[in-house]
Every structure is written in C-alpha cells, then in structure tokens.
Symmetry: C2
Subunit: 303 residues, 2 copies
Amino acid sequence: SAWTEEFPGRVHFLGHISDRARLADLYANAVLRMWSDDELDRYRRHLEVMVKERTLDLQRINERLQREIGEREGKERELKETMERLRALSAGLQHAREEERRRIAMDVHDRLGQALTGLKINLSLLGRKVAGDAESVERLQSMSDLIDETIRAVREISSDLRPGVLDDLGLVAALDWQLKEFQDMAGINCSLHARLDDDSMDAGLRTALFRIAQEALTNVARHSGATHVEVRLAGDENYLLLEVMDNGRGIREEEIASRGSLGILGMKERAREFGGELEIRGGDGEGTVLAVKVPFNRAGARE
Amino acid sequence: SAWTEEFPGRVHFLGHISDRARLADLYANAVLRMWSDDELDRYRRHLEVMVKERTLDLQRINERLQREIGEREGKERELKETMERLRALSAGLQHAREEERRRIAMDVHDRLGQALTGLKINLSLLGRKVAGDAESVERLQSMSDLIDETIRAVREISSDLRPGVLDDLGLVAALDWQLKEFQDMAGINCSLHARLDDDSMDAGLRTALFRIAQEALTNVARHSGATHVEVRLAGDENYLLLEVMDNGRGIREEEIASRGSLGILGMKERAREFGGELEIRGGDGEGTVLAVKVPFNRAGARE
C-alpha cells in the first residue's frame, strides 16, 4: 500500500537490490539518519534555544529602548522646563532692571531736579536783595553755577539710566541722542540711517532694540578698534531690521561662540523675546556687523 | 558490522520480526519519518528563519538603541550647555545690575551729595551777610531746609540702590537697617537674630544674602498677610544659614512650584551661585519659612 508508491529522496533505491541488502542498506541508512537526526535534533534544539534567547534578548533590549526613550523624553522635558524657567528669569531680570532704571531715573529727575529748580529760583530772588554787596553777588553766582552743574549731573544720571527721549520721542530720536553721546565719549565717528516710522512700535521692543544698540556700541568701543560706526534702522510691514556696523578689526567665530560672551547672549535673549534673531558677522579686518531682525506685527504693536 | 550492534531508539525492534515484515516496517517507519522529517525540516527552516529574523531585529533595534542613546546624549549636552549659558546670563545680569546699582548709588551720592553740601556751606556764609534782613534770612532758611530735604532724598535714593552700610559695616548691620526701613514702610513688626561674625564673608555672598532677604521681605509684604517677621542669621565654620520667618497665611506648594515664581527662582539662582540651597516651607496658616543654607568656606571667603 503506502510503501508501493513512489517516494522521492533517500529511499528511492528500494526496488533495485535484494531484500537482505535492502534491509542492510535501510538499516545503515536509518542508523546514519539517526545519527544525523541526533545532530539535527541537537541543531534544532540549539535553534530553539537560540530563538528563545534572541526573543528574550529582543524583549530585554526593547525594554531597555523603551526605558531609554522614556528617560530621554523625561530628561528633555526637565531640561526644557528648567531652560524655559531660566529664560523667563533672564527676561524677568532684564525687565526688573529696566523698571528699576526707569523708577530711579524718574526719582532722581523729579525729586532732585525739582528741588534744584526751587533752589535756583530762591537764589535769583535773593540776588535782588544783595545786589549792592559784591562778595555776596559773587557767592550767589558761584552757588548758581554749582546748582546748574548739579542739574546737569541729575540729567546725566537719569539719562544714563533711561533716556527720557526714548519714551517721549521714540527709538530713532533716542538712537540719535545715544550716538551723539557715544561719539563724544568714545571718539568714534557715528552715523545713523533710519528709514522707519516707529510710532506704532511696542514700548518693550523699542527698549529692547535701544539696549541692544547700546550694548553693541559698548562692544565696538571695547573690542573693535573701529574709527567709524554706522547704525541702520529699517522696516516694512513684516520685519524690522537694526544693524550696527563698524570698520574695526572684525570679530572672530570663537569670540562669538565663547561662553564668556554674556553680552551677546543677553542681546540674543532680548531679540528672542520678541521672536527675533540676532546675527553677528565679522571677517578679519573687515569690521563687524550686528544685525537684529524682528517680525514686526503692526497690529500687535498697536495694541 | 555496523548494523549488528545494539542501537537505541526507534530501530531496536529489528531482531524480532521477519525480514519482509522488518523491511515493510522499516520502510513505513522511513516514510513516516520522512514525513516527519519534512515537517522537522520545515520547522528547522522556520527556526533558522526565525533566528535570522530575530538576529536582524536585534541588530536593527540595537542600532536604534545606539542612535537613541547618541541622540539623547547629544540633546542632553546641548540643553545642558544652553542651560549653563542661561544660568551664566542670569548670574551675569544680577551682577551687572548690582554693579549698576553701586555705580549709580555712588554717582548720586558723590556728585549730588557733594554739590548739595557745597551749597549748604555757601548758604551759611551768605547768612552772615544778610543777617539784618528778615526776608532774606527767612529765604535762606527755606533754602537750607530744601537742601536738607534734597540731601535726604539723595541718601534715600542711593541707599535704596545699594545700602552703603552693607559695604561699610557688613551684612548684619545692613539687615538691621533694612528691617527698620521695612517695619516703617510695611507696618510689619520685625526682629533680627544674628549669631554670626560676618567680617570674613565674601562681598558677593554678602550682597546675595542681603538681596535674598530683601526679596523675601517683599514677598512677606505682598502675599503673607503677616504681622510679624523674624530674620535669623547663623553660621559655624561649615555652613551659613539665613532664615526669614513670618506668621502669615503660609505659602502653598503650587505657589512655590509655579512657573511665575521668578522671584523664588531668582533667589534660588543667587544661592546656587555660592553652592547654596534655598528652601521654602509654609503650612496653611502656619506662616512661611524661607531658609538659605550656604557652605561657608572661611578660608575661601578671606581670599
């Protein structure tokens, strides 16, 4: 029945040799096969063990991967949160400082300025009384000079803190004032090119750009060796561009990247707060350009 | 030869039945086995494929794990670097503000204070000249009052900025002054317990602790509803402890954790700069305790 059929493979020789020989062949074949079966068994068991091991390895490594991903995500979240809080702290510190400057500037200006003006009026009224006495007239004059000088000091101190012109006349006027002051102080020739109507500019952005320009000028005076600096302010309905360009020795990549450049980082954070970007370019001996580009939402700015 | 030996397993029945029957059995056995071999072959192939697949999976997932680890490490590095730079920026901003305060305080004090003192001397010299004229004497008196008032304003403005007593007499004296000012201004009863000789304290640490105390007092006035606040300052050769305790409504965990608590974050960063820790505890209705613990290296502090 079953064994009369044709079979492929290792037993096809059954029909050609004697029963005895066939038996011997079959037996030898079976033995060989048994051995080979043993090997195959071992191999199969080995394979089964390998599959199990690989599967376990896979499970373990998958778990590790999941843990790793979870840890990475947790770490990322944690670091991002801390970063956000630190960013907020930096911005908060800038604002607090700005607020303090404004408050002190007003305090100095109002409390001291008014008192000094009062003194000056009293002095001139007193002048009429002592008109006949040369020594008193001279003393009054020197007092008047002293008061004038003090009024100038009060103005300087409060302007250094917070130029009133920034709040009263806007960014362009404040930059113009600052560049004149800078030119006198640092002896570096300055020019301002402003093609911008900054009436509708957000007060915070105005302050940020003014402070960035001030910091940039400080850097020019400290590091550039420049003889000329040009400030450009331009904008359309989309962007606002502030550039501070000098003809100095240029800034090196390492200087820009260096950890110590807190001034640059501070400027970047100020720009970032208004969704802006700050870029510094400076070839060797070709001067330095600091450029701030801020998206300028006129609608938002008017709010 | 080989087939006369004893074999275990499926062919041990060879010696008991006729050759023909044996042959048939063997043949049937071989066929069955072949079928089973086919299955086993399939199974083995399947196992081999599985091992290959698992091995490939393992390789792939291992590569992914390596990439993931690399990415995680890169991200961590990047975020940590940014965090460090932002920390440095925050610290830098604090220092710059402190420096600015000191500079303005000195500017206001020196430039304006000296001028006002000059005016006062001139005024008293002038007084001798106009001794006979009642109106002039009165005018001089009102000028003198105005100058005194202005001198007070100058002192207040510069002390608000940077209490000279902090630099001249140290932290304990400055805290004492600040608590008296605070008591007058906020109407909250204050006491100071200082068991500390702060002569050798680092000037930066002194400033940091003073500013932390000021910020803590501001928080007490703003949020606590307290009627009493106690400031404690203690230290041994290892640690320095500043505590600000009030009897107000207490601070909630959410308030401490909240993103908006920039004041708290700022204080923490100030403490952190000197390797210190800042802790805020406050049960409901049990008041709030703010505690700063800073390692106090006397040797280092004296440098």
